[in-house]
Symmetry: D2
Subunit: 337 residues, 4 copies
C-alpha cells in the first residue's frame, strides 16, 4: 500500500489538528514536524503519535528526500518562502490561508508551484463544510435557477488577542478572506467589484491598529449577481456562519450547527442550543475532509479542490475591500491588475 | 360615544382594505369615499357598507364639515396637494407611502400640516407587524445591547405590471422605502450614509424604464452601526420579509409567517409551508392595527406611531440610494440638505 | 339579502365569543340572548351590539317565531332538553360540546333533531384550526399513504377551578373529548378499542373528585391503525396542541402557533416564543370559521362539518376511556352498545 | 502507558464498528477477533488493523490470558454462555443487547458476573446519543420539575429481512428494548406496568411469524408518571428517533439529526433534509462514546454507564409488553417475579 509521507511545518493549533486528521488516513504517514519553538511538550506530543523527526528547522523537512508533501501551518509571513522552497524540492504543498498579504508575492509563489509541477491546496476549509457543500450542490444542480443574490454571515464568538490583531493583516485579509472564497465557491462566479463599510464597535483596540471589527461588504459578480457579507469579531451567542443563495427559481439557505436538538420549554420561553462555539467545533469534519481529499489527490491524481488561483482571487477581493474602506468608494478588481 | 367621521380618497385595493378595517372600530364611521373612476361597482360596494357619499370629486370630502379625517389612498402624485388641502380644512390625515417622490414637496406638505395642527400618520404598515414589533421591543429593552448590524430581506413574490413600473418611482422609492423606514424603526437610530448596488436580473422591462429589480443597499447609522437590505422583485416561493438586529449582547431575528405549521416528511424530503404569499396576507393584521392606532390617537390624543418626519427620512434615504446607484458611490444624507 | 336570525342561549365566555363572531357575518343577525343570570352588564353588552332581546328565560327565544337558529352555550346538563325543545320548534341548532355526559340522552336528542329535520352542528372547533386542517388535507390527499399511527398532544396551560372540576364530567368527557374527535377527524376512521392510563400529578384536587389530571389514551381504529393521546391539565409553557399522522408513505405533523417568529440569541441560549397561551388565542380563527360555515350551511344548504353523530362517537370514546381507567383494562366500543 | 487488551467475539457489522471505534482509543488494543465464519475477507480486514489473532473458535479468546476484556457481538442466543465463560475466566465484558430473550438466563449470567467481580456493560448505545443525553441532563438538573409524561418515537427506515424477523425475538425484545431502556434512562424511574397494542400494517410477513410491525406501548412508572412509545418498522423518510419528557416546570424534547441544515425554498415548498438514514449514521458518535467510556472504566475504575441490571429491566418490560399484546391486558412487572 502506497503511503504519502508528510512533514508538518508549524506546530500551532492548526498544525496539530491537521496532524491528528492525517493520522486517520490509512495512506498518510507523518514523518516530521518542525516548529521554531520546538519544546519538550512538542516532543512528547510527537512521541505519542510516533512522529520520528521533531525539529526547529523547517529545512530538515524541506531537504528530506523521504518527504512527499508538506503542510505549511506556520505564520503567514513565512508562507511564500516556504512554498517556493517546497516547490523547488518537488514537494506537494498544503498551505494555510492566506497564502500571503501581498498578491504579487502570492503570484510569485504560485508561479514557482506551476514550474515545479507539484500540487498545492489552500486551507479554505469551509468549502468542505456539510452545510455550505449542500448549498453549493443545490446551486450547481440548478435548483434555484440563475443566481441573483448571495448572502453570507460571518461572526466570531470572540475577538483574537491584541498581539494577533497587530499582525493579522486586518479583518478582510484575516477573517473575511474565508467569506470571499465562500462567495466565489457558492456562486460559481467571479467577483468584479467590491464596496466595504466598517466600524469599530466591539473593541477600540481594533481601531488602534487601523482595523475595524464590524463590516459589511457588498460584492458584484461577473454575471450581474450581487452579494453581501456581514461580519463581526464578536457574537456572544457563538460562531455564526450562515449563507444563502437566492435565484430565479428559489433560495437555499443554511443555518448553524448545534450540539444537540433538545429544546426546553418553560415559563421563560422555548430555549434551544446556541451555535457550536467556534471553528474547531463547527469545522471539525471539514478539516478532516480537506486533508483526506488532499491526500487522495496525491494518491490518485486529479485536481485539488482549492487551488492557488482560488487563494489569489480571495486575496484580491480582500485587497479591494481594504482600499474601498480606506477611500470609501467602490473598487473594481480590474483596478488591481 | 364619540365617533371619528372619515372620508376615503382613492378606492383602489388599499383604500378598500382601510375601509373594511375602519369598520371594525366601534368609534370610526366612514362617511364618504371618492375615486376618479367612481363606478357602479364602487357604488354597490359602498352601499353594502352603508357609506353615504360616493363621488368622483375629492373636494366633496375635503370641503365636507362633517368629516374629521381623511385617508389618502390615491396615486402618489396626488398626495401632496391633497395633504395640503386637507390640512387647510383642518382634517386629520392618514396618507399612504410615499408622501411624494420629491422631498422638497413632502417637506412643504408637512409644513402645512404643522401650521394646521392636524394629525398626520403615514402608511408604513410594517411597523405594526407582530414579528418586526417583537424585534423592536427586544432592541428597545436592551436584550441585544448596543446595535452593531441590521439586516433586512425584502423580496416580492412577483413584479408589478409594466404600467406600474413606469410610474412607480423606482425600486428605492416604491419598494425599499418600507425597508428604509424599517431600518430606522428597528435600530432607533438615523441613517447617515447610503451605498446602493443594483442589477436587472428578473425582467429586462425594469431596465427599459431605468430601474433595477435586484438591489443591495448598505447603510451607515449615526451610532456607527451598519445595515444592509437585500431586495428582489421576484421570489418564486413567496413574500420574503425577514429582519435581524445584531448587537453587543446578542441577536434577534424574525422569519416569515406561514399558513400553517404542518410539516410533511416523505421519501422526497421534509416539506413545510411557503411564506404567506404577499403583503395582503402577511400584513393583514398590521393594516388593522395601524388604522386602529390612528383612530385611537384622534380619540384620545397623543402622537401617531409614524409621523411625517418618518416619511421624509425614508424618502431621503431612497433619494440617496438613487444617487448612489446612478453615480456608483457612497452618498451621505447630509449632501441632500 | 336573506338573513339568519339567531338566538344565543348562555352568555358565558363562549356564548359571547360566538356572538361577536356571528356579527362578522353579513347574513347573520343576533336577535336575542338569554342567560339565567342576565345582569345589567349583559344588558349593556347587548346594547352595544344592538341585540334587541335580553332575557333570563330561554323559552323566550325558543318560542320566538322570528328566530331561525339557536346557539346553545349554556351548561352541559341543559344541552339535551334545549336541543329537543329547539328541534320541536323547528330551529336549527349549534350546540357546544359535549352534547351530554350520557350517550343515551345524546342519542335521544339526536333522534328529535332527525325527526324535526333541522340542522345540528356541534362545537368541535378544532376541526377548523389551520394546522389540523392541513394535516387532514394531507391525509385525505394520500400524501402519507395508508394511516398507521395517530398521535395527539393535548395540554392545557392551567387547570380549571375546583368548582368546575366537580361538574366537568372528568378529563375524558371534558377535555379529551376534543382529542377523541380529532383522532376520528384526522384519520377518517372509527375508533374500536380504547385503553386509558391516568394519574393525579398536577393537583390532588382532581383525585378528590375522582378525576385524573394526566392521562395517556391508546386507540385502535377499524383499519388497524393505532392512536395515542397524551394529556395534561397543566403545561406551564402554554397551550400545547400538536398532532401527527404517520403512514405508509410518510408523516405529517403540526406544531403550535406562536405570537411571533422572533428568535433571540444571547449567551444564555437561543430563545423563541412560547405557544399561544390558551384556546382563545390558538383557536380564535377556528371559532370564527365554525360559525361562518354553520351560517353558510343554513343559507345554502348542504351538510354541517360536525354532526350529532360525531358528538356521539366522541362521547362513546370518552365513556370507554372512563371504564378503561376504572377497570384498568382495554374496552371495546362495541361493549357499549 | 497501560493498555486494555481486547478480544472481539462476532465479526458482523456491529463487531467491526466496535473494533474501529476501539482503535481510536490510545489505551485499547485489539488482540483477537473470532467469528464462526472467519473468512479470508475477515483475515484481510484484521491484517489491515494489525489484529494478530483471527479464529473461528471463541475459546481461543476466552482462554487467552493476554486478553483483558471481550466484546460479545455474536448472535443473541450465544450471549449467556459467552458471558458466563468470560466471567469465569476473569475477563471484563461488553455485551450487545439484548443479553438474552429469557430473563432467568439473563439473571443467571449476571450472577456469574457478580461472582467473578468483572465489569459488564450492555450495548444500549442510545444512552450516549447527544440528543438523549441533553434531555437526560435537563431532567436531572430539574429544569422540567417533576416528571409527568415521557414520550418516545422509534421508527426504523426499513424492516429487516425475513430471515432476521424469524429469530429476532419480536418487536419488543429486538427493537423496542432500546426504547424501554431509554424510558428508564430519561425518567430516572422504574416502569411498573405495561400495556401494548400492535398491528401488522407494514408487511404481512411479520404476522406470519407471530410478530407485529407497528406498536404503541403505554408505561406506568413508580412515581406515577406515564410513558408512551410509538414504534414502526418502516418510516420511509428515514430513522425517526425522538423523545420528550414533560413535567411540572416544562418540557424538553429532541428531534432527529440531519445531514445538513440547508433549506431549499421553491415554488413547490420549503424543503429540508430528511433525518439521518439509520442507526449507523444517527448513533455513530454514540457508538464511539460507549466504547470509550467502557475502556475508561476498565482503566480508571468506577461504574459502567449501562449495567447488567439495566439489561434485565429492559428485558422485563419487553416480556410484559409481549404478554400484554398476547392477552390484550395491562401487565404489571411484579407479575413476572
Amino acid at each position: 500500500m502506497k503511503k504519502i509521507r508528510i512533514g508538518i511545518i508549524g506546530a500551532g493549533r492548526i498544525g496539530k489538528i491537521h496532524a491528528d486528521n492525517l493520522r486517520r488516513h490509512p495512506q498518510a504517514e507523518i514523518v516530521a514536524i518542525s516548529d521554531l519553538f520546538a519544546s519538550p511538550e512538542l516532543q512528547a506530543w510527537a512521541d505519542e503519535r510516533a512522529i520520528a523527526i521533531v525539529t526547529k528547522d523547517s529545512n530538515e523537512l524541506l531537504n528530506n528526500p523521504d518527504i512527499d508533501a508538506v503542510f505549511i501551518c506556520s505564520s503567514t509571513d513565512t508562507h511564500v518562502p516556504l512554498i517556493k522552497q517546497a516547490a523547488q524540492q518537488g514537494k506537494h504543498i498544503f498551505c494555510e490561508k492566506p497564502v500571503s498579504m501581498d498578491i504579487r508575492q502570492t503570484e510569485e509563489a504560485l508561479e514557482e508551484v506551476r514550474k515545479a509541477g507539484v500540487q498545492l491546496q489552500v486551507g479554505f476549509n469551509r468549502r468542505f463544510d456539510h452545510n455550505f457543500k449542500a448549498i453549493r450542490e443545490h446551486v450547481k444542480a440548478g435548483s434555484i435557477g440563475e443566481t441573483h443574490l448571495i448572502k453570507i454571515t460571518s461572526r466570531d464568538p470572540e475577538p483574537p488577542p491584541e498581539a494577533y490583531i497587530k499582525v493579522s493583516g486586518g479583518i478582510f485579509m484575516d477573517m473575511m478572506i474565508h467569506d470571499f472564497d465562500m462567495a466565489r465557491f457558492l456562486s460559481g462566479s467571479e467577483v468584479e467589484e467590491v464596496y466595504a463599510q466598517g466600524s469599530v464597535l466591539v473593541n477600540p483596540v481594533f481601531g488602534d491598529h487601523g482595523d475595524v471589527d464590524t463590516a459589511i461588504v457588498t460584492l458584484r459578480f461577473a454575471n450581474g449577481a450581487l452579494g453581501v457579507i456581514d461580519c463581526s469579531r464578536k457574537a456572544v451567542y457563538g460562531y455564526d456562519q450562515r449563507a444563502e443563495v437566492f435565484g430565479s427559481k428559489g433560495s437555499v439557505a443554511s443555518t448553524n450547527d448545534q450540539a444537540n436538538t433538545a429544546v426546553l420549554s418553560t415559563e421563560q420561553g422555548v430555549i434551544s442550543e446556541k451555535p457550536l462555539h467556534f471553528f474547531l467545533e463547527r469545522y471539525n469534519n471539514a478539516y478532516i475532509e480537506e486533508t483526506e481529499q488532499f491526500i487522495n489527490v496525491l494518491l490518485q491524481g486529479g485536481e485539488v479542490s482549492v487551488s492557488g488561483e482560488d487563494a489569489c482571487q480571495a486575496e484580491r477581493i480582500a485587497l479591494a475591500a481594504k482600499i474601498s474602506l480606506r477611500d470609501n468608494r467602490s473598487v473594481k478588481l480590474s483596478e488591481l491588475k
